[in-house]
């Protein structure tokens, strides 16, 4: 079912895409971010990504239960290990996803983890 609120969210996210991609050339005026904000740009994107994924990898309904028997944890560990092993090669990113899925599906469907 299409939900009006989700559509509003999508429209606002489109505006976020435009603002971030065009941030420094929206205005004609030349200007600078304060130093701390400029430095913060180095660390915020990776923090945002891991903050989003970490709970989805280790928590079940907000609880930390037996992560060593969880298909998602093993898939994530395998994917990250593969990435850092092959980081200099081409096609590493899509292969990383493939490795993660290849570990995830058998554990989940086969062992029910």
């Amino acid at each position: 079912m299409t939900d009006g609120w989700t559509i509003v969210t999508i429209l606002c996210m489109t505006v976020v895409t435009v603002i971030t991609r065009c941030f420094f050339f929206i205005s004609e005026r030349e200007w600078k971010l304060p130093h701390w904000a400029q430095r913060g740009l180095q660390y915020a994107p990776i923090a945002a990504l891991t903050a989003v994924i970490a709970p989805d990898i280790v928590l079940i309904n907000g609880e930390l239960t037996a992560p060593w028997r969880d298909a998602r944890v093993w898939a994530a560990v395998a994917a990250a290990a593969f990435y850092f092993w092959r980081r200099r090669e081409s096609f590493t990113l899509p292969l990383t996803i493939a490795v993660g899925v290849a570990v995830y599906l058998p554990l989940r469907l086969g062992l029910g983890w």
Binding site: M1, D3, T6, I7, T9, I10, L11, C12, M13, T14, V16, T17, V18, T20, R21, C22, F23, F24, F25, I26, E28, W36, R39, G40, L41, Q42, Y43, A44, P45, I46, A47, A48, L49, T50, A51, V52, I53, A54, P55, D56, I57, V58, L59, G62, R72, A75, A76, A79, A80, Y83, R87, T92, L93, P94, T96, I97, G100, V101, Y104, R108
Partner: protein, 277 residues
């Protein structure tokens, strides 16, 4: 070489003016597409797009598997057009997080584009504002990298500008077509895959891969670990506020530690740390 169209005559019916305006637009697009560099840009981008297809496909699958309707998923793909921001927002939308938390998260994930836009400013400032925003919206990570690698300096003459714009648009068009096609395939095929497989997790894996690729310095890796730990520890906060709080905590810690780490590194190696976006 194409001839410029004559100016439209003053006295014209609204339909005549619309026609002339459309003809002018079509002529401008055709001129860009006929430029040899347009096809060079499109071909170079297509080579890389093959690797990005899995990505676009997974974004489509993750959207539909999170419970979005087909209309919502298609709209999101066509409008938002930012894979990692979409992947990050999908679980938040599904969990009913407040709008500002979703937007703040998307903004933080997209901050790398803010870094690129500072660089692209010198290349794009000759355009009027609407055209700049339009072009900026369509310029993704990979086209940005290819474009600035091929043209290390902004154009100075009209001919150079046309060549640069043709190359960039070639890459952008090719990227857009690949991305949207695969994303649509993901939306429609994902709908047919059984829910039991839990394939929405592929979206999490896709984000994990991007996060790994961003971990180019020690402090960035630390930022990732801090944010992950804080997001899990603060999971009990209402409205998924754990995300925004985790980002704030991780960035604050890194900004606090940065001077010390940089001082130690420059003392050890005598070179500035890698700042690649």
């Amino acid at each position: 070489m194409s001839m410029p169209l004559p100016d439209p005559p003053r006295e014209m019916s609204p339909r005549g003016r619309l026609g002339a305006w459309l003809a002018h637009k079509v002529d401008a697009y055709a001129r860009t597409a006929r430029h040899p560099l347009f096809w060079v840009g499109a071909r170079e981008m297509a080579g890389i797009s093959v690797g990005l297809t899995a990505w676009a496909f997974m974004t489509g699958v993750a959207m539909i598997k999170s419970g979005m309707s087909i209309t919502e998923a298609v709209l999101m793909s066509l409008l938002v057009f930012a894979g990692s921001a979409q992947l990050a927002a999908i679980p938040l939308i599904a969990a009913g997080a407040p709008l500002w938390v979703i937007l703040a998260t998307a903004f933080c994930v997209n901050l790398r584009f803010v870094v690129f836009s500072l660089h692209l400013r010198d290349y794009f400032m000759f355009l009027p504002r609407t055209r700049r925003l339009y072009l900026g919206y369509f310029t993704g990570d990979v086209t940005y990298v290819l474009y600035t690698r091929r043209f290390p300096k902004p154009a100075e003459t009209e001919t150079q500008r046309r060549a640069q714009m043709a190359y960039l648009w070639g890459g952008n068009v090719s990227n857009w077509v690949f991305w949207q096609t695969l994303s649509m395939l993901g939306i429609f095929l994902g709908n047919a895959l059984p829910a039991r497989w839990g394939l929405e997790f592929a979206g999490t894996l896709a984000l994990l891969a991007v996060a790994c690729s961003l971990a180019t310095t020690q402090l960035r890796a630390l930022s990732a670990l801090m944010a992950a730990a804080a997001a899990v520890a603060l999971y009990g906060l209402p409205y998924r506020l754990n995300i925004v709080s985790a980002i704030a905590v991780a960035v604050a810690i890194c900004l606090f530690l940065e001077p010390k780490v940089l001082a130690r590194q420059s003392g050890a190696k005598g070179e500035p740390p890698g700042d690649r976006p």
